[in-house]
């Protein structure tokens, strides 16, 4: 399959935006009292969210997890609203109630993000059920980690989705670590995609640092799902180049392992190729990067200048009145 020039440029741009956005956060979260809570980044894993979302239609739904910035930006979330929320500002997409860990962006069909590991899976099944119920031609994607695949919720969700042939795509972002545990320290199964067998569901392993491969695998799964063929389990093999969170010293991650994977960074990989294949000029690339810089700087400025919510606003938004 030939992936169009436009699509490749779109994915490059998506990854660059995510990377720049998180590079800012890497610095910002070091400033005492600027960003509430933990800071969990996906540096080096951008090909997953950017590849997946490039294959989706706007009406498709994404359910993300604690490592969500790339997923949501790739789905089209407003950088200003995300950054302000991460700051805990009133102008944030969730009025400061969620912060970085549970960013909800219904405007782009990301109605909820959960930081309960594995929590997104049964919810994604429910959303896909609604799509099937209404006979829509849309799908739901659930992005989750390798650690989440050990939770009971993974099992119940995949069994039900396959039984009912729901239009859902389960994307396991296998970054080789779950917290401080290396993959083989938390499961004996060679590959998470092998678990598809347990549900009579197609399972596929893709190079999670090859955004085009992720895109193509998602397209195939989406076609199957909208055709009524049911769910697919896609395992994207990638690597967590930074710590679990920014405060993680990574003392348990071998230095050379990190270095080796940094070599495989998905961004230069696509960038160099589109440059080599002349799909973009150095000039256009510089412009794209400049535009992205401007967007992220604007988002930071917006967040900085935005007010905090008033304390009593904590009482709002619990129930629909």
């Amino acid at each position: 399959m030939q992936v169009s020039k436009e699509k490749q440029i779109e994915m490059l741009r998506s990854m660059l935006l995510s990377r720049r956005f998180e590079e800012e956060l890497t610095e910002l979260c070091k400033v005492q009292g600027k960003i509430p809570g933990m800071m969990i980044l996906c540096t080096g894993q951008e090909a997953v969210g950017s590849g997946v979302c490039a294959a989706l239609a706007p009406e498709d739904v994404v359910i993300s997890n604690h490592r969500s910035h790339n997923h949501l930006l790739a789905k089209g979330a407003e950088p200003r609203a995300l950054m302000a929320e991460i700051y805990g500002k009133r102008t944030g997409c969730n009025k400061g109630k969620s912060g970085t860990l549970h960013l909800a962006v219904p405007e782009v069909n990301a109605p909820c993000t959960t930081t309960v590991v594995g929590g997104g899976l049964p919810i994604a099944v429910g959303v896909a059920f609604a799509q099937q119920y209404r006979q829509e031609k849309s799908v739901t994607v659930c992005l989750f980690g390798d650690g989440a695949a050990d939770e009971g919720s993974f099992h119940e969700a995949l069994n039900l989705a396959s039984l009912w042939r729901l239009p859902v795509i389960f994307v396991c972002e296998n970054n080789l670590y779950a917290g401080a545990q290396r993959y083989e320290e938390h499961t004996a199964v060679q590959s998470m995609a092998d678990r598809a067998v347990a549900y009579a569901m197609p399972g596929e392993v893709v190079d999670g640092n090859d955004v085009v491969a992720v895109y193509e695998a998602t397209l195939r799964a989406r076609e199957l799902a909208v055709a009524g063929g049911g769910p697919t389990l896609i395992e994207c093999k990638t690597y967590r180049c930074r710590g679990h969170g920014e405060s993680d010293p990574q003392h348990y991650q071998p230095k050379d392992e990190i270095a080796a994977w940094q070599e495989k960074c998905p961004i230069p990989r696509l960038r160099d190729e589109v440059l080599a294949r002349g799909l973009i000029t150095t000039e256009e690339l510089r412009e794209m990067e400049a535009a992205i810089n401007a967007i992220v700087e604007d988002a930071v400025r917006f967040a900085e200048e935005s007010p905090y919510p008033r304390p009593e606003e904590a009482l709002e938004d619990v129930l629909v009145q």
Binding site: N94, T114, I123, V127, A128, A130, E156, N159, D317, L319
Partner: protein, 325 residues
């Protein structure tokens, strides 16, 4: 007026709401094809009438059942799912407590989760503590959830219809013993307000606050006390959350005495909340100490004499009332 058991009343509410709103569907273990073939049970016949698209039998997967509701509600449907027995709420509790109850707040009020979780509860069937464990106090402790626990078939119908139309997650707890006792139920459109208690019997001497199956115990005790000229006012909470403080306080202001009656175990039970509200807001009206008549702090045992010992009865309630008169 039609006479229905609470199971039939729940059935009628489900049926009417499914006819009214195509977004309503039901799901759970045995809600379609069941190991019981009994018209007194809530979902009997719904599969036949509405078909497998809207009446979904699920695997034995409580987390997935609750997650199905959360996701389908987020996507605009109005799920009514069943967790077969209250103790299995534990298995669904992450989806209900960490997700259904919190995701709206976490979205800053953008996403809504109009779902109903029905649960069967109550001792008295000899099935033991893994089938009978009243955990309404857990759910009532979770902001973002509404908790309904009807005591009569009419309330069950009216409150379930309201719950299905409510834009918030509602946990609806049905005591199975009530399925088989017929009572009058209004035909058609009958809505009972969530968040309003109901004075099921007026009286001036003592306020008995209760809910669900224990209402029957309270009413029987009240009629017996009447013979001796003691007038107990029976307040049926109907909804634990939001709690109708006003009705409770009005009654205690009048009687000056409070007894709370529930089947759940004593320590940490919802009687504590009722007591605290009264002690905060009606202290000056109080003439006597509180009495709680509840299940003892034990799991529900199986052997008949043990299970009877567990379940609060008229004698225990009457004794408690006498103590504070």
């Amino acid at each position: 007026m039609q006479q229905l058991g609470m199971g039939q009343a729940v059935h009628q509410a489900l049926r009417e709401e499914m006819m009214r709103d195509a977004r309503v569907f039901i799901a759970g273990e045995g809600v379609g094809v069941s190991i019981h073939d009994n018209p007194m049970l809530p979902t009997a016949g719904l599969l036949k009438e509405f078909g497998p698209k809207r009446v979904r039998d699920t695997p034995v997967s409580e987390a997935a059942i609750a997650g199905l509701a959360v996701g389908a509600a987020a996507a605009g449907l109005r799920p009514v799912v069943e967790i077969m027995f209250n103790p299995f709420f534990t298995l669904a509790s992450d989806m209900i407590v960490n997700h259904a109850a919190k995701l709206r707040y976490l979205s800053g009020g953008k996403s809504t989760f109009p779902l109903v979780v029905r649960m069967k509860s109550g001792a008295g069937f000899g099935a033991g503590c893994q089938h009978a464990h009243n955990l309404e106090a857990w759910v009532a402790h979770c902001p973002g959830l509404k908790v309904v626990m009807p005591s009569t078939p009419a309330d069950a119908k009216g409150l379930l219809k309201s719950a299905i139309r409510d834009d918030n997650p509602v946990v609806f707890i049905e005591d199975m013993m009530l399925y088989f006792a017929p009572g009058p139920v209004p035909e058609g459109e009958h809505l009972a307000p969530i968040g309003k208690a109901d004075v099921k019997r007026p009286g001036r001497d003592v306020t008995v606050v209760t809910w669900s199956k224990m209402l029957g115990v309270a009413l029987n005790a009240a009629s017996r006390l009447e013979q001796e000229g003691i007038e107990a006012e029976i307040v049926d909470l109907r909804t634990l959350s939001p709690l109708d403080k006003e009705t409770v306080l009005t009654s205690v202001h009048k009687t000056g005495r409070l007894v709370v009656l529930h089947e759940a175990t004593r320590t940490g039970g919802f009687a504590g909340e009722v007591a605290a509200v009264v002690m905060e807001e009606a202290f000056s009206s109080l003439k006597a100490p509180l009495r709680r008549v509840t299940g003892p702090d034990i799991p529900v045992p199986v052997s008949p004499p043990l299970e009877r010992f567990y379940i609060p009865d008229e004698e225990k309630l009457i004794a408690a009332i006498r103590e504070i008169l």
